[in-house]
C-alpha cells in the first residue's frame, strides 16, 4: 500500500465527512443539549465505519457495487422499492446540498443565492464531465479540509473538556420534559441518519469499483474507513461542542446554515470566517456531487447499464443522462424556494427510512463465503454488523413519529 495513496484517501474521507445536514444538526444538537449527544456521533461513526468497510470489501473481492447486490439479494420488487426510496431521498439530499452551496457562495460573494446555485450546478456538471473519478473525489475532499478550522476554533475557545468527555458516555439528560425527551430522541436519530447517509455507501462502494480495487486494497479500505471517518467525525464533534459553548447560552439554535461559520469567526475574526466558509463550500459541494453520482450509480446498476466515470461520458450515455437528470431535478427543487435547511431535514428523515433496506444486502453479501471466500465477515464484523442493523431499524421506525411529534426538532 502506497503511503501517499493512503494519506490522500484518509484526508479525502476527513474533508468529505461533513455535509449540509451534519452542519445543521450538529450545531442545533449542541445548542439544545450541550454535550449530551456527543456519544451519538461516536456511535453513528462506528456504524459508518462498519458498513463502509463492508461495502469497500465487497467491492474489492466480489467486485459487486451496492445496487447490483440490492436487486440480487432482495429480489426485484423489494429492490425496486429500495431504488425508488433511495432515489427520492438522495435527490432531496442533493437539492439540500446545492441550496447549501448557493447560500455559502452568496455569503462569500454577495451575489444572489439563485444565480449562485445555478452557477454551482454548472460547475458540478463540468467537474463530473471532465475529470476522472479519483480527481473528482480528491479535489473536493482535500479542499474540504478547510473545515479543520472548526476543530482549531474549538480549542481556541477553551471549552470545558471534561464535559465534552462526559458526553462520550451514552446518556439521556436528567430532568427533561416529555417534549424535550422526544426532541432529544429526534436529534439522536437525525445524527445517526446524517452520519450514515445511504448515498455515502453507494458512492464509496461504486468508487471502489471505479478505482478497480482488489484484494491488495483491503488494507487501504480498512484504514480509510476507520481513520478517515474517525477523524472526520471529530469535525462533527467540534461543531457540536462549539455550538454548545457559543450558541446555547445565547438562545441560538442555528436556523441559518451560515450561522455555523460564526464558530470560527468568534475566535479568529475575518480569517476564521473565510476559512470556515471555504470549508463548508467544498464539503457541501463534494456532497452534492456524491449524492448525484450515487443516484446515477443506483439506477445504472439496478438496470445493468454501463456506468462509471472511468468511462468517458459518451461511453456510458445512459449513466451520463442519469446524473444530468438528477442535477436538473435537484436544482429545480432549489428554485422552488424551499429553504435548504428544511430540505436537509427532509433528507435526513427520508434517508433513515431507506437505511435498513440499503444496509441489509451489504451485511448479507459481506458474510457470504461463496462470494467473499476467506474475506467474509469474521465474528467481530458479524456481531457489529447485526447490532448496528438492529439500531438502524429502531431508528428508522422512530424517525417519522419523532419528526412529526417534535415538528422537526423545533419544539
Amino acid at each position: 500500500m502506497k503511503i501517499t495513496e493512503l494519506t490522500l484517501g484518509i484526508l479525502t474521507a476527513v474533508g468529505g465527512f461533513v455535509d449540509v445536514s451534519e452542519l445543521v444538526f450538529m450545531a442545533q444538537a449542541g445548542s439544545r443539549f450541550q454535550y449530551a449527544l456527543v456519544w451519538v456521533i461516536v456511535v453513528a461513526t462506528v456504524g459508518m465505519m462498519v458498513f463502509g468497510e463492508m461495502s469497500g470489501r465487497v467491492a474489492a473481492i466480489a467486485k459487486q457495487p451496492v445496487f447490483n447486490m440490492m436487486r440480487h439479494r432482495l429480489g426485484l420488487n423489494l429492490g425496486l422499492v429500495t431504488l425508488i426510496a433511495s432515489l427520492i431521498s438522495n435527490t432531496i439530499t442533493c437539492a439540500a446540498e446545492i441550496g447549501g452551496v448557493g447560500i455559502v457562495l452568496h455569503l462569500l460573494t454577495g451575489f444572489g443565492l439563485v444565480p449562485m446555485a445555478i452557477a454551482a450546478t454548472f460547475v458540478f456538471v463540468a467537474t463530473i464531465w471532465l475529470l476522472p473519478f479519483k480527481w473528482i473525489e480528491r479535489t473536493y475532499g482535500l479542499l474540504g479540509l478547510f473545515m479543520v478550522v472548526f476543530a482549531v476554533a474549538l480549542v481556541a475557545i477553551e471549552p470545558p473538556w471534561g464535559e465534552i468527555v462526559k458526553g462520550l458516555v451514552p446518556q439521556v439528560p436528567a430532568g427533561l420534559s416529555t417534549t424535550e425527551l422526544l426532541t432529544y430522541g429526534y436529534f439522536a436519530v437525525a445524527i445517526v441518519s446524517a452520519v450514515m447517509f445511504p448515498y455515502e455507501s453507494y458512492f464509496y462502494s461504486s468508487g471502489a469499483i471505479e478505482e478497480k480495487w482488489s484484494e491488495k486494497d483491503l488494507g487501504l479500505n480498512r484504514l480509510t474507513t476507520t481513520v478517515g471517518f474517525g477523524l472526520g467525525s471529530l469535525l462533527g464533534i467540534a461543531i457540536l461542542a462549539s455550538s454548545a459553548q457559543l450558541f446555547g447560552p445565547q438562545g441560538i439554535s442555528p436556523e441559518l446554515p451560515g450561522t455555523t461559520a460564526l464558530e470560527a469567526a468568534i475566535p479568529f475574526g475575518r480569517v476564521g470566517l473565510l476559512l470556515a466558509l471555504l470549508g463548508m463550500l467544498f464539503a457541501i459541494a463534494g456532497a452534492a456531487i456524491e449524492t448525484c453520482l450515487s443516484n446515477a450509480y443506483s439506477i445504472s446498476q439496478f438496470f445493468g447499464w454501463r456506468w462509471g466515470r472511468h468511462l468517458k461520458p459518451h461511453q456510458a450515455p445512459r449513466f451520463t443522462f442519469a446524473w444530468l437528470a438528477v442535477f436538473a431535478i435537484a436544482l429545480a427543487i432549489v428554485l422552488t424556494g424551499i429553504e435548504p435547511v428544511a430540505l436537509a431535514e427532509y433528507a435526513v428523515v427520508a434517508s433513515i427510512l431507506v437505511l435498513p433496506l440499503t444496509y441489509l444486502p451489504i451485511l448479507l453479501l459481506a458474510g457470504d463465503r461463496s462470494y467473499m471466500r476467506e474475506h467474509a465477515n469474521g465474528r467481530i464484523a458479524k456481531t457489529l454488523g447485526w447490532a448496528y442493523y438492529a439500531l438502524i431499524v429502531v431508528a428508522a421506525l422512530g424517525a417519522l413519529p419523532l419528526y412529526l411529534l417534535t415538528e422537526g426538532g423545533k419544539l
Partner: protein, 120 residues
Amino acid sequence: MTIGRVRLLTQLRDVQIVDRDDRDCGIVDDVELQGGPGEGLRVTAILVGPGAYRARLPRWAMRLVALIAGDRMVRVPWGEVAYISSTVQLAQTAQAYGLAEAEERARRLLPGIGGIDAPQ
C-alpha cells in the same frame, strides 16, 4: 458453460450480464424454460430488459420502470452464456445480441468530447 449446477433464482436471475469484452450489458431479468408437466425442464434462454419482468410488477411500477428504462426485452439463447460467476458472461459482444441498442440511441444524443484520463 459453467462447471457444476446453477441455482436459477439465487445465481442467475437478477445477476449482472457482461459481454465478451467485459462490458456491462444488462441484468438477467428472467429465465426462459422449456418443458411441460411430467417432463424435464431445461433453460433455453435468458431474458434481458424490463419487458421481461412485466408480469412480476404491479402496473404502476411497470409504468415507472418503462419511463426510466423502457420496456423492451431481448432473448439471449442459453448456449450464448459462456460463464457464470458473480456475473453472467456472454460469448459475443452486446451488439451481437441487440443488447446495446438503447445505449447507442442515448450515445447519439451526447457530444463525443470530454473526460480526461487520470494518469496511471
